[in-house]
Amino acid sequence: MNISNKKIILHDMCLRDGMHAKRHQISLTEMTQLATALDDAGVPLIEVTHGDGLGGNSVNYGFAAHSDEEYLSTVIPLMKQAKVSALLLPGIGTVDHLRMAHELGVSTIRVAAQCTEADVTEQHISLSRELGLDTVGFLMMAHMLEPKALLEQAKLMESYGANCIYCTDSAGYMLQDDVFERISVLRDGLKPDTQIGFHGHHNLALGVANSLTAVEAGAERIDGSAAGLGAGAGNTPLEVFNAVATRMGASTNVDLFKLMAAAEEIVVPMMDQAIRVDRDSLVLGYAGVYSSFLLHAKRAAKKYGVPSEAILLKLGQMKTVGGQEDMIEDVAINLAKSR
């Protein structure tokens, strides 16, 4: 694999995807401490919101310790070089949230949709572009679509005004060939000045390998999180990716040792549980289940006395997608009844 001389933009997910692993309870102090450390390490983009994006506060996904407004207005003014992004899932958040994030100074809006449903993002992507923001179309659960069909959805987002399209492996299900094919088809089919990004989950321990493959196939932005703090078995561990990419001759302009320090000294002590490939997160990656379901399933398993991996497998069979967290308790109740 040759990725030498490639320039890669690293995007840290700890303070958004990591919210899932922290039941959305990251404190303002933790946010401040970690964001300033990442900024100091040279990470160019940091995502901050509820794990399910702007407006994600709910019974269904969990109420965060603070509002999106509080998190964003705490972090953004402290950044010296890093820009802050916010995630928005149409159907959960609205353009009102987008305007709020814009007013608070985010540089980037990432509009996320199930990879087959890009046409729900038109209102949000076009407004974001109109406001002059770096606008990303984020195609989730991208393993569920063949590369050509994925390209069609990506083109819709591009036509609404997205200047970057992500292939998002929400279930941590993709193998390296899956990533290579999808990114290659996106790179060939989208406008040359549209950037491509890849968002991995480490459920099959392929976060780093898949991200490298994505870069090889033409991705310029890579999502990861320091020490992997994220849903499921976590995101691509950013400091590991940075080390490998640097050894392979690519450039990220991120200080590896400062990033390692942030991971080791700030993120690891923040963790409520080890972020690793345990049985449940392996099931996510093996069966193609949305990574954020993990802790909800563990809680429902405990409450109803059924195995969490059985809940997750059933959710995979039902072909549930991101946002259907309500089905976790429903499935757990049904499993408990059938015993």
Partner: protein, 315 residues
């Protein structure tokens, strides 16, 4: 009581308009006369023509010329929130009562088992005061709202609901372009109606589209946080009786699980199967909307007929 049916027009020839037409053709009180579309080749318009309705693909203006001659008294608008503003203005100027199936929410929200009767009795008393000018636009909220707000109201009539949240999951195939373009209006309108009609202090609505094949049945989950400890027995009884009421006009409305009680959280897991009139059974979201609108239209038609017969008896 006059037995004559009331003539109606259907605006919008998409999934909702077409399903509503099929249901209205079976109605004992409504007589579908017109269907208005904007695409000559739309499946809805073709079906309408084949079923004997007058059709136009030139939009609402074409219909307006025939309101008097065809004695159209009620129009159902299943276009989009933005188009509805203009349609409503034009129809109102001709004295047509409007039932709005978009999330435009110009008129009051109508969730039949919760507030239809009180809306129509208000309408009647206003009619007497204002000599005929009545509340002439009723909004049907959203499919997710029709499926869930009865449950929130069933809980809030037992005790105060501090927070009401709904998650509506629909099959991708059942969501037409109007729904997709209006996704923010869905969440806003539904959340607002959760507060206004459901009686929750604060409302939140979430919609998810699922592309699975074969398509999944519409699922709706209601989460309420009660202000005080929930009265398990009273809430359960109230929810079960409300479900029976909804089943009177949507037979495929089913309780899957719950009510689950967890501290102050009350959760109810529902499924809505359609009748398979236009789209297959899975599209319960279509049926719950069109059935609620039909039920509203029929009740309105009965009122219009009895008002007419009252007027006739004065002559």
């Amino acid at each position: 009581m006059v037995n004559k049916k009331i003539n109606i027009a259907l605006i919008g020839s998409g999934n909702i308009g077409t399903d509503l037409m099929i249901k209205a053709l079976r109605s004992g009180t409504l007589n579908p006369v017109w269907m208005v579309g904007i695409d000559e080749n739309s499946d809805g318009l073709k079906r309408a023509k084949a079923l004997g309705l007058k059709t136009t693909h030139l939009g609402i203006d074409e219909l307006l010329e025939h309101i008097e001659t065809d004695n159209i008294q009620i129009a159902f608008d299943a276009t989009s929130a933005y188009v509805h503003q203009e349609n409503n203005r034009k129809l109102q100027s001709k004295g047509v009562k409007v039932i709005d199936l978009t999330p435009a929410a110009i008129g009051p929200y109508c969730i039949p088992p919760v507030n239809l009767e009180s809306l129509l009795s208000q309408t009647e008393s206003q009619a007497q005061i204002n000599d005929g000018s009545t509340t002439s636009n009723l909004n049907m909220v959203t499919c997710g709202g029709q499926a869930t707000i009865p449950i929130i109201a069933a809980i809030s009539r037992v005790q105060s609901v501090d927070y009401g949240e709904i998650v509506a999951t629909i099959a991708s195939k059942s969501a037409g372009p109007g729904t997709r373009k209006n996704i923010d209006e869905f969440t806003r309108t539904t959340a607002d109606a959760i507060e206004q009609i459901g009686g929750a202090r604060q409302g939140k609505a979430i919609i998810v589209m699922n592309p699975a094949e074969p398509p999944l049945m519409m699922r709706d989950t209601v989460h309420c946080l009660t202000l005080d400890e929930p009265d398990i027995e009273a809430i359960t009884a109230s929810v079960l009786s409300m479900i029976e009421q909804v089943q009177e006009y949507v037979p495929g409305y089913r309780l899957k699980n719950g009510p689950v009680f967890d501290g102050k959280r009350v959760s109810v897991f529902l499924e809505v199967a359609g009748l398979g009139d236009y789209l297959p059974e899975y599209a319960g979201n279509l049926d719950i909307m069109t059935s609620a609108a039909l039920c509203t239209g029929e009740m309105l038609a009965r009122n219009l007929s009895s008002n007419m017969s009252v007027k006739d008896s004065h002559h």
